[in-house]
Symmetry: C2
Subunit: 433 residues, 2 copies
């Protein structure tokens, strides 16, 4: 398909953007005669007047289907929350539930301008099916937990080999990755298999790292070293490693992350809500890791939405507040975390609006009150906007939303509601609506 977006603001100037297949084929000054793109050349023409084009946003770490658990359990001590609420409910998940939960998440992301997410969850094939249908782009990993049990480890390895093979037949928008959950849930032997397999097939490795103090203490007990040291020891640190959270790091661990070019995803809202501490952002930046950092919402049980605009603001605010320095994470730096940096981290040819890049684009409606006046669009995006300022979303050259409408959204919400309430009623909880 070919799409022409006419008269749209790109970096403060009115331009025409011409999309051919899944790429940005040309960007021209609006109204210039030289190299002007003619309407007739495009199958679809979008009026970009009073809109601004920004790269589709990257959600660097989530568990998409957890949208089903939004608002199900909050404001609890972490351990109680996990053991009495989240895990028992997750144990009752089905293929169907994950499918509709992921569809709901994809819908929420599209509505708020996100065109990519990095996921780790149960029922990989259901997530993949939801991504396939929704038109969004994703790195998908199956939760790999063996609980230090040899039999389970074998199962997990077989499952991942099968899924990797199956992923080859899916849309290029879906990228298979390995998802070893964390050092306290996966055996050393399995982590070594992950290292081998990911190296052999050049796969990303999505892992939770040092999210809580308890995790660090447990690792020190089990292996006599801290999590990042241990991961270095078994050679699981590489430029393909996506280490999420990274809240509790020693100086030495930061150096190790830098040395191995490890990628890091920061989840400020989830970290705040669970009160587990904050990633040492400024220190990681000083270690030279800035361009290795992306931002993520985490799952909806601990956020409780997937609005990356909110995440941008909270990321900037929390580090200003914790450091006492109002110049920490200025707007443009926050925005890059969720676009340019993330694209590099997830090895995608996108994250900026430029010729030759993937056509993953969100159009902001500049008439939204939060974007008035428009002294500085980046500031407005980071500090004032929310996801509802997004009018149009294009991913891989396909139009997923125009005028804030996504095809089939009412059915998705209806089914996701049903599935969510069914999960609750199975657990003896009552629905409220």
């Amino acid at each position: 398909m070919s799409v022409l977006i006419k008269d749209v603001l790109v970096d403060g100037k009115e331009k025409d953007i011409y999309i051919e297949s899944n790429k940005i084929a040309a960007i021209r000054e609006a109204g210039s005669s030289k190299g002007k793109i003619r309407e007739g050349e495009a199958e679809v023409v979008i009026d970009g007047k009073r809109k601004a084009a920004i790269p589709g946003i990257f959600n660097g770490h989530t568990h998409a289907a957890m949208t089903l658990l939004r608002g199900y359990a909050d404001d609890m001590p972490l351990h109680d929350w996990l053991t009495t609420k989240i895990w028992p409910l997750e144990a009752r998940l089905t293929d169907e539930a994950v499918y509709w939960g992921t569809k709901l998440a994809a819908l929420e992301m599209i509505k708020s301008g996100t065109t990519f997410f990095n996921d780790m969850y149960w029922y990989w094939e259901s997530s993949a099916r939801a991504v396939e249908e929704s038109g969004i782009r994703a790195v998908l990993s199956a939760v790999f937990i063996d609980g230090f049990d040899e039999e389970k480890a074998k199962e997990q390895i077989i499952k991942n080999k099968v899924l990797y093979e199956k992923s080859k037949n899916l849309s290029k928008r879906i990228i298979f990755a390995l998802g070893p959950h964390a050092v306290y849930t996966v055996s050393k032997e399995s982590l070594c298999w992950v290292k081998e397999f990911s190296e052999r097939h050049d796969l990303l490795v999505h892992i939770h790292v040092s999210e809580t103090k308890e995790e660090v203490e447990e690792c020190k007990k089990r292996y006599g070293m801290r999590p990042v040291e241990f991961l270095a020891e078994i050679n699981l640190l590489s430029s393909r490693t996506i280490a999420c959270h990274c809240v509790h790091l020693s100086r030495k661990e930061m150096e190790l992350l830098k040395q191995h070019d490890v990628k890091i995803v920061h989840n400020p809202t989830s970290n705040m809500k669970l009160a587990i501490g904050q990633m040492p952002y400024e220190e990681l930046k000083k270690t030279g890791l800035y361009s290795n950092i992306a931002l993520g919402t985490d799952g909806c049980a601990s956020n409780n939405n997937m609005d990356m605009f909110e995440e941008l603001k909270i990321a900037s605010l929390v580090h200003k507040a914790f450091s006492g320095d109002p110049t920490s994470i200025p707007a443009a730096e926050a925005f890059a975390l969720a676009t340019r940096n993330a694209a590099k981290i997830f090895r995608l040819n996108s994250g900026i609006i430029a010729e030759g890049k993937l056509a993953d684009i969100a159009l902001l409606d500049l008439r939204k009150v939060e974007l008035v006046p428009n002294h500085d669009l980046t500031s407005n995006i980071v500090y004032s906007a929310n996801g509802s300022c997004v009018d149009t979303v294009i991913c891989d050259g396909a139009i997923l939303m125009t005028g804030q409408k996504v095809k089939g959204e009412e059915e998705i919400k209806e089914k996701a509601r049903e599935v969510a309430y069914e999960l609750m009623s199975m657990s003896g909880n009552n629905k409220k609506e």
Copy 2:
């Protein structure tokens, strides 16, 4: 006017709400025959299906017209930001600018379900005119700054007397208050006049208190005591005092606030953005001040929007994060800060949906993706929703928004833009759009 909202969720149950003049006259179970409200009885009928009624939200502290400065200057050290950006620009404000800035703010608040704000700004009459027209409710105070200059003090006193008299002829939605800016900008003599005048006329006193460390140090130098101690000394602490920010408080000062039943407005986002510290929320709560605390956005130069849904989430998150306790400020507690508590603080018969209360109501659209599923509406409001989930707003019995549309909104945005860019061009800055 009379309005019937049919089949709307109120505290989890489907109800009919009948509004007569500016009050909630009756609430009945939807479909019940007993005392059922008939459509014919109301001049306007609103379909409340798949909507939830919540009290109109209170924005406890702002400088509304600063919407004009949204995104104009961010990420700067506080002193530079004030002296090189904010104050020089404010010095060029006009009647016209404040009028359109306040209209824009009122529009943004209505769009995000806020029906009340507590304001302190320049050009009081322009703000009042904007509030009068917009239909929102407000406590309005003129910035009272004398810079320790006797002549200016006299002027300010005369001005406030005049405004107080004028306010008597305005709509009951507008409540006149005194706005002594802070102890470092207003002389002791003027503060004593504020005390007298506010006591005589039973007026609220809106003041910034201990927002920064510098303010506390300066006060100790000038008066030999901390700000709250000084305010107690001159008898300016009372149940009519609205102390905003209250970031740097000693134990003794918290006791003084409690002893005098002082009201407190917390502005977590602004405090984070300017990196000035956080209000000791949990300690104030322990001091018995919980029901005296409201929430505010502060002005758009330091937030940069007026979305109280965002403020609810950030308030809860920041205290969880700072205290390391995920049970701090649970959802219902946060919500009460911006509704029930605030109504009490600003002495309004509202803040809950009940018969006999003022008809200040927001209807949430439960079909919005952020509100799906709806396991717990209060959790969804605080942790997942943003202002765009509001569909309908009623204030003082008048319908200000339906289907997310506010009358005249395009003109307001257009004019506010013009005025904002004019202010910038006067200061040698260029507009971007």
